[in-house]
């Protein structure tokens, strides 16, 4: 009898415990959001994919309300990105520097890590894991897990002291590692570093603004994983092939993919292609129209999107 009561108590308690766990995990991620925006720090890190390792250094500084950040690749030809608030300038070997309107530097962390975490909650769960040591510091594991099998999951190890991310794993549905960001060293400062002060004072190329055009979106999705919305729609010439395509960018806040709609080429694409880092391509031909979907998502998800697209009424 006593045992039964205990089980009953345990059962009624379970949801509460789970809820507490999830909100604690969310608080960790919210601390990370703040830290990424408001701390002065420098991260030395490596980004690992199946066949390659990139060494990078990331600097972040705050001046009054303004932010300055620098991401530099440490090996190979010069490749850097500088962010001054919502403007990112790319400095790359052999290419004239150019500026883009962006709130974060792409290619390191998902943008949502620095703001908007709470908006992920309908489609992702936050789960508190154990602690481990990363970059010589104590780190708390938080998992960002999708409720459905249509997207990948993130595992984030946060510095217990500062809540800055020390390790970020992108993991597929079978728990294989697709990509890993690993901090080797974290330095924190009271003030923005002299390097960032210098960068802030320099003149940088203007942001390129794409011509604003009112375009009527002509397509409708027959199937999308919950939470994905069209963020951008345009028509452009496909890089390298110079074929006109209609382009849609979709995102659920964390994962994103591109949809291309164009006339079918005389060479059909392979049904799907997957890269070691999770980037995949799926295509479908509907009559004379070819739909190509590209993104870091399970290739089955992309294929389903490609197969279920219709002209808007």
């Amino acid at each position: 009898m006593l045992r039964r009561i205990l089980i009953l108590v345990a059962l009624t308690m379970a949801p509460i415990v789970q809820a507490a766990d999830s909100s604690a995990a969310r608080q960790w991620l919210e601390r990370m959001e703040l830290a990424l925006n408001h701390h002065n720090f420098q991260l030395s890190l490596v980004q690992m994919q199946r066949d390659q390792i990139r060494a990078m250094r990331y600097h972040h500084g705050v001046f009054d309300e303004a932010q300055v950040a620098l991401l530099e690749h440490l090996n190979g030809p010069i490749k850097s990105a500088i962010r001054l608030d919502d403007k990112v300038v790319f400095i790359e070997h052999d290419v004239q520097p150019y500026g883009v309107r962006s709130d974060r530097i792409p290619g390191m962390l998902p943008g949502v890590f620095a703001g908007g975490i709470a908006k992920l909650e309908p489609h992702y769960r936050f789960v508190e894991g154990g602690r481990n040591r990363v970059a010589g510091r104590t780190a708390q594991l938080i998992r960002i897990v999708s409720g459905d099998p249509y997207r990948f999951q993130y595992r984030v190890w946060l510095d217990v002291e500062s809540a800055l991310p020390l390790r970020v794993d992108l993991v597929d549905q079978e728990n294989s590692l697709l990509e890993q960001l690993l901090v080797i060293e974290l330095h924190q400062f009271e003030q923005a570093s002299p390097l960032l002060i210098e960068l802030r004072e320099r003149t940088w190329p203007e942001v390129m603004e794409a011509p604003e055009r009112q375009l009527q979106q002509r397509w409708r999705f027959g199937w999308l994983p919950a939470g994905f919305e069209v963020q951008h729609y345009d028509q452009h010439m496909l890089l390298g092939l110079n074929e006109p395509v209609e382009y849609l960018a979709l995102s659920d806040g964390l994962a994103e993919f591109s949809v291309y709609i164009g006339l079918a080429g005389r060479v059909t694409l392979p049904g799907n292609v997957t890269a070691g880092n999770g980037l995949a391509l799926a295509s479908a031909v509907h009559g004379e129209v070819e739909v190509v979907v590209v993104g870091k998502l399970p290739v089955e998800t992309l294929a389903n999107v490609a197969e279920n697209i219709y002209p808007a009424k």
Partner: protein, 193 residues
């Protein structure tokens, strides 16, 4: 060791040897790919080469993809989830839509350079000038019964074009992501520290 296994594999494809090699192939992705290639080689010799060679697109795409060079492998298409596709007579309905001819080219310094660089090194223009149904060949090549060469070359070229196309989409995706930027609702600094 590796070559020994390859020999076994080769013999197995030719139907000369059986045994536990199939189990081992299934267990090792590298062998699996080899198996696939050997089968294609065998097919080609028997004149059964498929219309397109898809197996090495992957590697080639990867090599060209500058920003995210990774090994690409066509994934075995096991659907972990299946959804009923909506049946609509797409062909007819799509036919009414012609893709606008004068679409906006994104005027971007970086992109233009990217494009220019591409056209210098890429063999696309060459490929486009060749006739659709195979490159012109000396008459002696077209003697009936000698023709393994031709379909093979067509398939190769098709594979090459496939990889160029796939590559173009992957790169464009990365470029668009960059150009469109990241929008973040920056959290207010309230309870920080």
């Amino acid at each position: 060791m590796v070559t020994e296994r390859q020999e076994q594999l080769s013999a197995c494809v030719d139907g000369q040897e059986h045994g536990d090699i199939l189990d081992r192939i299934c267990a090792e992705p590298e062998l699996q790919q080899q198996w696939h290639r050997y089968h294609l080689i065998g097919d080609a010799m028997r004149g059964e080469l498929p219309a397109t060679l898809q197996f090495d697109i992957a590697d080639k795409v990867a090599m060209q993809l500058e920003q995210e060079p990774t090994i690409l492998a066509p994934k075995p298409s096991k659907r972990r989830f299946a959804l009923p596709a909506q049946v609509v007579s797409l062909g007819q309905r799509f036919g009414q839509y012609a893709i606008a001819a004068g679409v906006a080219a994104v005027a971007v310094v970086g992109v233009q350079q990217y494009g220019a660089e591409q056209s210098l090194t890429s063999p696309i223009p060459v490929l486009q000038t060749t006739p659709l149904l195979g490159a012109p060949t000396p008459a002696s090549y077209s003697v009936p019964g000698m023709g393994v060469q031709e379909p093979q070359r067509d398939a190769e070229r098709e594979a090459h074009e496939q990889h160029l196309r796939a590559n173009a989409f992957l790169r464009d995706h990365l470029l668009q992501q960059r150009l469109n930027g990241i929008v973040v609702d920056a959290p207010a600094q309230s309870q920080d520290r």
